[in-house]
């Protein structure tokens, strides 16, 4: 442990001092409104630059020995440290954060990068990964994410190189069955739904969730679609639904990077483990048994006033977000996505901050070995628009993104925000030569939705056999 004012750096004749690693991490973060709101952001650009110089020289072993939230105070810290793989860490244990950045970019340039990064992942802690990301430019984040390959499976296979999967999100303000079915049909006809068909329910009623699960399961079995369904309710509701015999494919939960924030979600690690066991007991997967689906997002801990670390210091939102990935990876999820622009401008103010955060979350999740997707999205009170989302989608696609969220015409009429349109994915798959999940792609072909070049054809909805899905 270092003494007070342990870190300092001079930039342009001014010396900046930082009293703890938590402060260095926060002040080294690229500017964002959430850290300013928390009061932990750098005051000036020069202070930020100084913090980055300091962070570059921090040894990885020092990060391991200096938890941002105390071991005895937080079960997420205990999870991170208790599960740290010393053997996987050994090859990089001599490095500083700056050295790790150089190492990762070096590995990323080699042909066997995916295998090497997969082997390294258990040796990395979220704090190391968050730290190194703060020294990376957007291009570095894309290069490193692109070098990983994280493959998971249930009825479809997610994350293979050259594939981009989609969550089809057919939300409806009152969970109207016909309205939901119409959105499902729309998405399927545009080649979406291979990662999951997943609904955010309008109420927290377990009964209503059961009805939605049966609706989605009927659609899937009727057309033999190789995908999975999910109703995104609380993990305890999913356990109840499994006990009632409902067709639960994936168990969903929002997770965050502190024990206190997770308590705010009404969860702890034990209940996530219980839910996973319950879902596994159903044996519903065909090509794999990854049964968990998690969502995260920078700012969730701060919004729950659960963002403080050692000595009461506010921890920056990107480090806390990355700690949430340690929670996710303990449960072998099929899917993890950051809902990057959903939380609002007090956490990510504008298109620039949302794009940066999306690239950070994607790269950090992948480095930790997660099947990472992104809800490329924004709200109407942020300084962002559809152009920013198309830019973010394209750079994430270049980085080998696993999956994205898609809704009809980019407009989620239930949650009141904008994500991607089904059309956006068609465009990006064409631009970057990406394809749907393999089992789903074969299904698209079987039902006549692909043209001779293997692309999703423009068909008349009423002339496909899927049209019966919305028959009165």
């Amino acid at each position: 442990m270092r003494l007070v004012t342990a870190y300092s750096q001079t930039v342009a004749g001014h010396t900046y001092a930082f009293d703890h690693l938590v402060e260095v991490l926060a002040k080294a973060s690229p500017r964002r409104s959430g850290d300013e709101l928390a009061g932990c952001a750098a005051q000036t650009d020069a202070e930020r630059a100084a913090a980055q110089w300091v962070l570059a020289d921090v040894e990885l072993t020092e990060i391991l020995e200096t938890p941002v939230i105390a071991y005895e105070d937080d079960e997420v810290t205990r999870l991170i440290l208790d599960r740290h793989d010393a053997d996987a860490f050994a090859p990089i244990s001599h490095l500083s954060v700056g050295g790790l950045r150089d190492h990762l970019l070096d590995v990323a340039s080699t042909p066997d990068s995916a295998a090497r990064l997969t082997a390294l992942a258990p040796g990395l802690t979220p704090e190391m990964v968050a730290a190194v990301s703060k020294l990376m430019g957007n291009g570095d984040l894309i290069a490193v994410a692109r070098a990983t390959e994280v493959v998971t499976a249930f009825r479809s296979t997610i994350g293979q190189r050259g594939r981009l999967a989609t969550r089809l999100q057919p939300n409806h303000p009152t969970d109207d069955a016909r309205g939901v079915a119409a959105a499902v049909l729309d998405g399927l006809l545009l080649g979406c739904g291979d990662a999951v068909i997943g609904i955010n329910p309008a109420t927290d009623s377990t009964h209503a969730a059961g009805e939605l699960l049966r609706l989605l399961d009927d659609v899937r079995t009727r057309y033999d679609i190789p995908t999975q369904s999910c109703v995104l309710n609380h993990v305890t509701s999913s356990i109840e639904l499994i006990e009632q015999g409902a067709p639960v494919d994936l168990v969903f939960q929002s997770v965050a990077g502190t024990e206190a924030a997770n308590r705010g979600f009404g969860i702890d690690l034990a209940v996530l483990g219980e839910a996973r066991e319950a879902a596994l007991s159903l044996g519903r997967g065909t090509v794999g048994d990854n049964v968990m689906y998690f969502e995260t997002g920078q700012g969730s801990a701060l919004s729950a006033d659960a963002h403080r670390g050692v000595g009461g210091r506010p921890v920056d939102q990107q480090t806390l977000e990355t700690r949430g990935y340690a929670v996710a990876r303990a449960f072998d999820p099929l899917l993890v996505n950051t809902v990057v622009g959903f939380i609002g401008p007090e956490y990510l103010a504008d298109g620039k901050q949302i794009i940066r955060a999306g690239l950070e979350d994607h790269a950090c999740g992948k480095l930790l070995g997660l099947p990472m997707g992104v809800d490329v999205c924004y709200t109407n009170h942020a300084e962002a628009d559809a152009d920013d989302m198309e830019t973010l989608l394209t750079v994430l696609g270049a980085g080998g993104l696993g999956f994205v969220i898609t809704v009809p015409g980019s407009d989620d009429v239930m949650l009141g925000y904008q994500s991607l349109a089904f059309h956006d994915v068609l465009s990006l798959r064409h631009i970057l030569g990406l394809r749907a999940a393999p089992e789903f792609e074969q299904w698209l072909d079987r039902v006549g939705l692909l043209d001779d070049l293997g692309r999703v054809a423009a068909v008349a909805a009423g002339e496909t056999r899927l049209a019966a899905l919305v028959a009165p």
Binding site: R178, N380, L426, A460
Partner: protein, 255 residues
């Protein structure tokens, strides 16, 4: 599917549009959206952004409220402008000054109404005065006393705590412009807090949302629910999670 407006492909979707407001069945220009649909999205976004960024019509609101035979007072939050307001929710919960709001001892008034601009000026411009009229009608009928109505600019729900305490109100109702979506940019929310004072948590409030006519919760129904909550809070001695609005509780089979 083609992007034309009268093709058989589009006709397929027409009956389904009564089941959802979602933008289903949009045509393709290659892989992309058609020009029409792209511009429709842009204009909806523009309306939503204007609802957030354009100032509300304070003069019209003041005239409308005064015409209901109510005293009116003004307050601004510590967020000086919209850009600050959007990034600093903490400042939007604190008054810059209460000098223009009449102070009174605790318990002087039964109910105070605070109109907080929130995230939609359009919501207030369209719905605030008739909603206040409906609430005031029921408040007076219940023989409850009303504090001056406060118009709060660059304000969030939490601003009602210091304002309500300063007014000497037992219960404060903050009517706030809700975050606009692409389909709805002008809905109001109403948050009720019993015994308002700085430091109240969100779990100590009750909320009635999506108030707008004709497609949301109508003014009379919203006022009825709010008065039910006022009476319930006075009986229980608190608002929040323990105070349930039984008049809108879902039927048992829906949990």
């Amino acid at each position: 599917m083609s992007g034309g407006s009268a093709t058989p492909a589009l006709d397929f979707w027409e009956p389904l549009r009564s089941a959802t407001q979602a933008r289903i069945g949009l045509g393709r220009a290659g892989d992309a959206l058609t020009t029409r649909d792209r511009l429709a999205l842009r204009s909806a976004h523009a309306v939503a952004r204007d609802a957030v960024h354009l100032p509300w019509d304070l003069d019209a609101l003041e005239r409308g409220v005064a015409a209901l035979d109510l005293a009116v007072a003004h307050v601004r939050s510590r967020a000086d402008d919209r850009a600050t307001y959007l990034r600093r929710p903490d400042l939007g919960r604190e008054p810059a000054s209460l000098a223009d709001v009449p102070g009174a001892d605790e318990g002087t008034y039964d109910v105070a109404i605070v109109l907080a601009d929130g995230l939609s000026a359009a919501a207030h411009d369209h719905h605030a005065v008739p909603l206040v009229q409906a609430v005031v009608g029921r408040t007076r009928a219940a023989d409850l006393s009303l504090a001056p109505v406060v118009l709060a600019t660059q304000a969030r729900v939490g601003l009602g705590d210091p304002v309500g305490a300063h007014l000497g109100a037992t219960t404060v109702i903050v009517v706030v412009g809700e975050r606009p979506g692409l389909s709805v940019a002008d809905s109001l929310g109403a948050y009720l807090t019993h015994l308002p004072r700085p430091g109240r948590r969100d779990s100590e409030r009750n909320c009635v949302s999506n108030i707008r006519e004709p497609h949301g919760l109508d003014y009379d129904r919203a006022a009825e629910i709010l008065l039910g909550l006022v009476v319930g809070a006075r009986r229980l001695g608190e608002s929040g999670v323990r105070l349930k609005d039984r008049s809108v509780a879902p039927p048992p089979e829906l949990g």
